[in-house]
Symmetry: C2
Subunit: 239 residues, 2 copies
């Protein structure tokens, strides 16, 4: 089995801008490759070939040294994102090494694949994709993943762009009522370089989503969050 991990970005320390540990000081390791093709993917460079020359095959040890080089003693939390890191068996080595060094590990995946190392993740975000992505959710797979994990270490997060997505979010929440549930405003302008414009635009969308959820009797144990990093740094990569 290949012990190496295809890595596209290592950066930090910065804050986790979204989801269950929003605001947490963390380092990021972004892996390449995804089994999905969401139309609004904000990290399409992980799978569309545009950054294929930047992919490095690294061992867990090599990733750890780079993390130390960048973050020194200023971190105790690492977030693994993608693409879909759940495509990679080799993530298990990285998780183990991080834990051995007293570092907590968060990871985000859409929930299309199971890996045994998921049980070891401290903050696992499952983010099934709504209709606007054009992807289809494999609910049997999601059922099976969720049944294997502890409720206090996972969360579900659905990005919402429109009313149809919100209906989907509700369906997901109702299917797994005991899993902490987050809805997040979709960033529908991943091209703009004006952070101020993007910020104003996203606040309007955020208010829209809040209003919808507040009125909805089937969305009570729900947390509605923005992606903080896009409000602060816009569409910049590596912050």
């Amino acid at each position: 089995m290949n012990k190496k991990i295809p890595v596209l970005e290592i950066f930090g320390p910065t804050i986790q801008g979204e989801g269950m540990v929003i605001g947490q000081k963390t380092m990021f390791v972004r892996t390449s490759g995804c089994d999905y093709r969401c139309v609004w993917c904000d990290s399409a460079f992980t799978w569309d070939g545009s950054a294929k020359d930047d992919i490095r095959m690294l061992t867990a040890e090599q990733i750890w040294s780079e993390l130390l080089e960048l973050g020194g003693n200023s971190f105790k939390h690492v977030t693994i994102s993608g693409g879909n890191p759940a495509l990679l068996q080799s993530i298990s080595y990285l998780v183990e090494l991080l834990h051995d060094n007293g570092v907590k590990v968060a990871l985000e995946t859409q929930g299309s694949k199971w890996k045994d190392w998921m049980k070891a993740i401290d903050d696992l975000t499952l983010s099934p994709k709504p209709p606007s992505s054009t992807m289809k959710t494999d609910f049997a797979m999601l059922d099976s993943i969720i049944s294997k994990l502890e409720m206090n270490k996972i969360s579900l997060k659905v990005v919402v762009f429109n009313d149809e997505d919100l209906l989907y979010a509700k369906k997901v929440h109702q299917r797994y009522p005991n899993v902490p549930f987050f809805v997040q405003v979709g960033n529908d302008d991943i091209e703009t370089t004006s952070t101020a414009d993007l910020r104003e635009h996203l606040f309007v969308k955020y208010e829209w989503l809040i209003e919808k959820v507040m009125k909805d009797e089937e969305m009570n144990f729900v947390r509605v969050l923005p992606q903080l990093h896009t409000y602060i740094w816009g569409n910049k990569r590596g912050v």
Copy 2:
């Protein structure tokens, strides 16, 4: 013992804009009275006499009917804030009634007083005040409060306005390393009515705080958050 609670505001559903359950759909009950006089208090009307004619002495049952009238079936979470609700023995009746109705309860207090009902709160935020408030923390009291509570139901939150506050935050975090710890950008312009200006101003402060914490080796298991509601609604009350 007085079973009534001095109430200044009941509103919602809206999102919790800060702290450990940031983004959570919730109703708010704001009690009057505080043993502190923070110079930058953003709810000074709860103790400075300016809203004393609005204070209503309500039983838990009366509060519950108002919550139902406002929120219907669209809530399962209530946040009790102040002032300092920990001045009031009678909060216990409200917490019990909310729990009987399947509603979770969050509460925020500066940690200057102990009440037995604190053990029953689902999300308890202890927010000791930094030097810029001009208040002095009673650490013996805070030690005693924290020793009685379960780590997974509480958090510490320190509002930070300047470098001295940040030093204080660090001291608090180091004293209670096992308590989930949040730092929050202080809103130093509670008068402006321009939400857009406030937003831009607070983003600059938020970036400053993020940068400080990111570099600090003694602030690793820390979450850095804004007050979302001030970014969305500015200094408006009751949203």
